[in-house]
């Protein structure tokens, strides 16, 4: 169905900075998330390149120990909290309403609030670099290395407060997504007809708003230790550093699935479209994700196998961790089943999605290896684990993001990314990640510790470190190709039809890019793959009948004002409490204004 020309032209004409600042349109917020996340991806990538440059040769002196520690800490924080999560949130923002046939999310202004909190929180978290004292104690921030005595600078304050702000941002987004998916589905869109990507978003939303509170508590306790004389994690006062690890990983492990499940959702959309057949084992796919989410709560201590955990909890956490391999395996087999018997088109999106399967399997398998505590005692804190997380998060989460970008770019921007450049990017990326991360397995088995800024020659580490560094540069080049592709594509006219790929899901039923109100008429869902069902049964989506009033939520500046107030409150803790005092009335004012603002 084509968009009726002239219906609510607000999206096309309403431009300018102010319209972006005050927007509550889920698509614009998604775009903001996408661009901000991508910029942070470049920052995090630059940090990684610097780290790899230092490690290319033994006894290297490119970067000193202090800067090195800041770089690897901020690389992890940037990639996890500022790049991957927001870029997957960008897809969620864009696609939840479109895929479930809604006109917007349940709470459009909360959506804007979550973006602006992320925007300011990201700047705050990274601002430590401006003062030469970014957080440098690892993203896991194990106490007591992070207490005042061992981390006297402001780096850890940027960390605790920055993560608290980002935590609120994620909470707001997760609650909003969950309500939207549960309650805003188009007629006929039952839970078991939801696209798998939407299911994954629903699962991670629950994980997020349930897992963030323990982290919040840990961060609050750490902040109290640093500023208000408590001894939660300081041994001399009766504190226990292990409690930090428990609270952190209660959050930290679900967080891993928060990062990877959306990518799994994306490729579960891409594989069927380009295989031209439905997803194999939809129900198993959904239940596997729910099982993974459930189990992810009972495995956190596998990050702590070497801390002296007692044998019985060690065995329990080990067993639970191994069990996660089962639903993950089911997912991998089902993707393979989706390919089987298809008629596969190798678009760039499909190349990324297909390569996800074996590459993610590498990361998944090494994860299962680490679930055995005795083996983990040989791998923990070596490059073996670095290899594992990068195979999961780069060739898993990031490859999913790239696949999604190529797949949904026509829908988002009305233009098709150049496939030739896309394939260049894919192959460079594919070669780069394997060069960069596969040798890390060898480094890990050769005993190379994580987080060291220098190492001696003659330990069997020299060659593979050089290979890995070369791989990092190749990844860098592939990302540059993508940027080139982006600018080249954006200079072309918008020419994409509603459904350029012949995909089955609802977002392809509206124009590319969609109008501000998403759908001229709320679509009707008759099957799990609605557009294919309609096509095969010669059915039509309902057409506009006369002059229907479509409600569009008006723009609001309260989200950004409130986020700015929150930023001031955090800045005050690191500078002067007067600034905090200034932030509080701003927040109260914006809550009040928000509550009284008419929404129609």
């Amino acid at each position: 169905m084509a968009t009726t020309a002239g219906t609510l032209p607000q999206y096309a004409t309403n431009t300018g900075l102010w319209s972006w600042i005050t927007t509550v349109d889920h698509k614009r917020i998604g775009t903001l998330y996408l661009f901000t996340g991508f910029i942070w991806l470049l920052v995090g990538g630059l940090e990684a390149i610097l780290v790899r440059t230092q490690l290319a040769v033994p006894n290297s002196t490119v970067i000193d120990a202090d800067l090195y520690n800041q770089l690897f800490t901020m690389h992890a924080l940037t990639m996890i909290f500022l790049a991957i999560m927001p870029m997957t949130a960008a897809f969620s923002n864009w696609l939840i309403p479109l895929m479930i046939g809604a006109r917007d999310v349940a709470f459009p202004r909360m959506n804007a609030l979550s973006y602006w909190l992320y925007f300011f929180g990201g700047i705050f978290l990274s601002s430590g670099f401006l003062f030469g004292e970014a957080a440098s104690s690892g993203w896991f921030a194990y106490a007591p290395l992070t207490t005042n005595q061992y981390a006297p600078g402001r780096g850890m304050d940027f960390y605790t407060l920055g993560l608290l702000i980002l935590g609120v941002s994620s909470m707001v987004a997760a609650l909003n997504f969950a309500v939207t998916i549960i309650n805003m589905r188009a007629p006929g869109m039952t839970m078991m007809r939801l696209p798998v990507f939407i299911w994954m978003t629903l699962v991670i939303s629950f994980l997020l708003f349930l897992a963030l509170p323990p982290l919040t508590v840990a961060l609050i306790q750490l902040m109290f230790d640093r500023h208000f004389t408590t001894h939660f994690f300081i041994v001399d006062g009766g504190g226990d550093p292990i409690m930090w690890q428990h609270l952190f990983w209660v959050f930290g492990h679900p967080e891993v699935y928060i990062l990877i499940l959306p990518a799994m959702g994306i490729i579960s959309e891409v594989l069927p479209t380009f295989s031209r057949k439905p997803l194999f084992g939809y129900a198993a796919m959904v239940f596997a994700a729910v099982a993974i989410a459930f189990l992810s709560w009972a495995v956190w201590s596998h990050h702590m196998f070497t801390t002296g955990l007692a044998p019985v909890p060690r065995a329990i956490f080990s067993a639970n961790t191994m069990l996660i391999g089962v639903p993950t395996g089911v997912k991998i087999f089902n993707w393979l089943g989706t390919l089987y018997g298809g008629s596969i088109r190798f678009t760039t999106a499909m190349l990324f999605a297909v390569s996800f399967i074996p590459l993610f399997t590498i990361g998944g398998i090494s994860g299962v290896m680490h679930s055995s505590p005795p083996i983990d005692s040989q791998h923990q804190d070596t490059y073996m684990v670095v290899a594992h997380i990068h195979y999961v998060l780069v060739t898993g989460a990031l490859i999913g993001v790239f696949s999604g970008l190529f797949y949904w770019f026509p829908k988002m921007f009305g233009r098709m990314l150049d496939e030739g450049l896309g394939k260049w990017q894919f192959w460079l990326f594919f070669i780069g990640v394997n060069l960069a991360f596969f040798p890390m397995h060898f480094l890990g088995l050769a005993g190379m510790p994580r987080r060291i800024y220098t190492y001696d020659a003659g330990l069997g580490w020299d060659f593979w470190n050089m290979v890995s560094t070369i791989g990092a540069y190749v990844i860098g080049v592939s990302v540059l190709v993508f940027i080139w592709n982006f600018f080249k594509t954006m200079s072309k006219p918008m020419d994409q039809p509603n459904n350029p790929w012949g995909a089955p899901t609802l977002e392809w039923a509206t124009s590319s890019p969609p109008p501000e109100h998403d759908f001229d008429v709320v679509p009707v869902v008759r099957a799990r793959d609605p557009l294919w069902y309609d096509r095969d049964h010669g059915l039509e989506q309902p057409q506009p009948t006369g002059h229907e009033h479509i409600h569009i939520p008006p723009p609001s500046y309260y989200p950004i004002v409130m986020s700015f107030g929150v930023l001031l409150m955090a800045v005050g803790v690191t500078t002067s409490l007067a600034v905090t005092a200034l932030g509080i009335p701003i927040v109260i004012y914006s809550v009040w204004g928000w509550a009284l603002e008419p929404t129609s």
């Binding site: 349940a106 709470f107 909470m171 609650l175 909003n176 969950a178 309500v179 549960i182 309650n183 805003m184 589905r185 869109m189 708003f209 349930l210 897992a211 963030l212 509170p213 323990p214 919040t216 508590v217 840990a218 609050i220 306790q221 109290f224 208000f228 004389t229 408590t230 001894h231 939660f232 006062g237 009766g238 504190g239 226990d240 409690m243 609270l247 209660v250 009033h549 409600h551 939520p553 009040w592 509550a595 009284l596 008419p598 929404t599 129609s600």
Partner: protein, 234 residues
């Protein structure tokens, strides 16, 4: 659809939702689920840490070796007495009668809140306003008790850095108190808004009910805290 648009003069437009539940109410319940994890983490920290007391003030009466007693500062020493057998006996710092009173006040505030919701949902604005005011007053009285308790503990020598009981107790009850404080502000805004010309609009009952959910949740958290922190000894 049109009917919903017209009626929704205030608040977000009301759609017929997929599960038939209101978005905002669902949001509040999910948020409260998240709060369960927040308080579970705080309570767990408190329970783990309060058993690691080396120096008084202790929450409950306990005996300490005499050399620990001799090393105590004067502010704390008056809480303990030398038993003469190499040990000293220290009073528990928790004042159960006082806290029981404040617990009843909070429990009463829940009754007041539910009556305010009843008034709001049954078109009885005066009943709603009156009970809303009663809820707010009870909330403020509860906070008063908490300030009194914190001050008392501080005078008896219990601070954030004194021992792990102090740190985890103040952080746990402090965050609960903050939730009560936010609730008081929330209800005060509701009360103030209800005096405008249009009051809280056509959805008054709904708005008060949502506020009530939050308020009752803060109350049930206190039910747990009262039992595990105050009534069950270390």
């Amino acid at each position: 659809m049109a009917h919903a648009q017209a009626a929704a003069g205030h608040g977000a437009p009301v759609h017929a939702t997929s599960t038939g539940t209101d978005n905002r109410k669902l949001l509040m319940w999910l948020f409260l689920g998240s709060e369960c994890l927040f308080f579970a983490s705080l309570i767990a920290s408190h329970l783990v840490y309060r058993s690691r007391q080396l120096v008084p003030p202790f929450p409950f009466e306990s005996e300490i070796p005499i050399d620990v007693y001799n090393g105590l500062s004067e502010t704390v020493k008056h809480m303990c007495e030398d038993l003469g057998n190499g040990f000293a006996d220290c009073h528990g710092i928790l004042d159960i009668p006082v806290t029981s009173t404040s617990t009843f006040v909070l429990l009463f505030s829940s009754l007041a809140m539910v009556l305010a919701v009843y008034g709001a949902q049954n078109g009885r604005p005066m009943m709603m306003k009156g009970w809303l005011l009663a809820t707010i007053i009870a909330g403020v009285v509860f906070l008063g008790f908490q300030v009194y308790e914190f001050r008392l503990f501080a005078m008896e020598g219990l601070g954030l850095s004194t021992n792990q009981f102090g740190a985890s107790f103040f952080v746990l009850t402090g965050f609960h108190g903050t939730h009560v404080g936010v609730g008081v502000l929330y209800l005060m805004s509701m009360l103030a808004a209800s005096f405008r010309r249009n009051g809280l609009g056509p959805e008054t009952g709904f708005h008060i009910e949502i506020a009530g959910l939050y308020w009752h949740f803060v109350d049930i958290v206190w039910i747990i805290i009262f039992t595990v922190v105050y009534l069950i000894p270390v």
